[in-house]
Point group: C2
Chain length 288, copies 2
């Protein structure tokens, strides 16, 4: 990809789309911004993150790459409605956190002369809106290219170059089934836990009596309620299975405590400690 | 309390007991250390954290304050076995994370001329041993004085002075029932969750695909398996109730996802967000 000759459009200038625009502009690309909110467009223009922008889909007509930073359903709807504006041969990508359903829905409607390569930047925060855009968050984050057997090497390479320009910490290739299975566990189940924990109790005195553990477990309870229900439903089979597994583990712990089974509890704690330490090691030395 | 004329003994020089010894020595107190491990004693002596130390319980005979940093059952056993060595009028305190059972067991056996004031420093880490002792951890931590109606103002004041010398962030007074109820939720339930999460899956690839949420939720899965089963059993009624409440919330989320009930999910997420933000505000401004 010749950076100076490649034109890229970002659809949706929220926290994530805005961070993409800022990061890709810094990397030397010509960025076009599309958003229904004129203030988001103005915010990005004032900072020169985008060269042109507005709510007019014809702005993407000479773009080589189009990245949707919309919510999953809005992304599918946008493509259905405006895909006549894609340049022939363009690469379409996205940032959505669930993949199987998005990939099949997009590929079912997409023009044959445009290729969709699904991506999942594993960054994100509890804040909404372009005012929170900041590409420096990507340097500690993983980037997943969620390819299928129908993707070309060119599209995969383009996705990898975008992730490299945005300075993601690691870039991995994964298939949609494995992606959604793992995400159901490491991300969605954790959000379900945090929300559930905060829904148990409304005691305002808790904060005076808490150590770090409760703070750590509920940080992600400050959650975007417009986005997450959609993500949960798009991956409901996996997520429901993970919730069942967690309930099963909790019931086992309940029995061990009830029976005062010290050895049984120790066994689970030793397993947890070993796995968690291995996890730390791999994080510090990702290639080991 | 006249710091220079008060002699204090720490029973058990592990991570927490060692941090107490170091912090109280720095504050100008004369500290005596008791431990069955001669290496722990030597470690503390070399650093001048303790003036005297060893495995001989008669070392506490002229101590005005004795603080046990032993595990709960070991603490009760130690008092039963060696309480003839307490100085008459001494204050006995502790650091254990559960209180009702410890308080009733200690008070059932303790000499009438010694007063037990239960304390819970809400610090602690996943590491064991005096090599990890570091009183600087206390400046961000809450200190709970868990008093009963039988405690004198003198004992409560002594506990408060110790916590002040150790530079704890906040010092609160709480009764044993409320203490154990809250700890069952904010600390013990969180540890049960972390251990349960790590016991669900042994996929070593998880780390490549995870964002911050899984890391945050499982940090405390690296757990001291000698201590925690005992803490869980000492508070089993509260902890089992909290596990039940969490399972109930998880089952509700399961139903909402299964029914694709977006409004129901939103409601839980909004509740979680509001409570979590209030929690952040109170943390930043504890007096508001």
């Amino acid at each position: 990809m010749n950076i100076e000759e490649t034109k890229i459009a970002i659809i949706g200038l929220g926290m994530l789309g805005g961070s993409y625009a800022q990061g890709l502009h810094k990397a030397g690309m010509c960025v076009i911004g599309i958003d229904i909110d004129p203030e988001a467009i103005q915010y990005a223009k004032e900072r020169r993150w985008i060269e042109e922008g507005g709510n007019n889909p014809s702005l993407i007509e000479d773009c080589d790459i189009v990245i949707s930073a919309l919510y999953p359903q809005a992304f599918v709807d946008w493509v259905c409605r405006y895909q006549q504006h894609f340049k022939s041969g363009a690469i379409l990508s996205d940032v959505t956190g669930v993949k199987r359903k998005v990939i099949s829905e997009i590929n079912a409607v997409l023009r044959p002369d445009v290729e969709f390569i699904a991506c999942h930047p594993m960054a994100g925060r509890e804040y909404k809106g372009i005012a929170y855009a900041d590409p420096s968050q990507f340097t500690q984050a993983n980037f997943l290219i969620v390819s299928t057997e129908n993707n070309t090497g060119h599209a995969i390479e383009t996705a990898r170059e975008i992730a490299t320009l945005l300075k993601f910490r690691t870039i991995s290739l994964i298939d949609p089934e494995e992606h959604d299975r793992i995400i159901g566990f490491v991300s969605q189940l954790c959000h379900v836990i945090a929300v559930s924990l905060m829904n148990i109790s409304d005691d305002p005195k808790l904060v005076d009596y808490t150590g770090d553990s409760f703070r750590d477990l509920t940080r992600i309870a400050d959650i975007n309620e417009d986005l997450w229900p959609e993500l949960f439903i798009y991956n409901k089979d996996n997520l429901m299975k993970e919730i069942d597994q967690l309930i099963c583990q909790l019931e086992q712990m309940h029995h061990l405590i009830s029976d005062e089974d010290i050895e049984g509890m120790k066994e689970k704690m030793i397993t947890a400690t070993i796995r968690r330490r291995r996890f730390n090691q791999r994080q510090d030395h990702p290639d080991s």
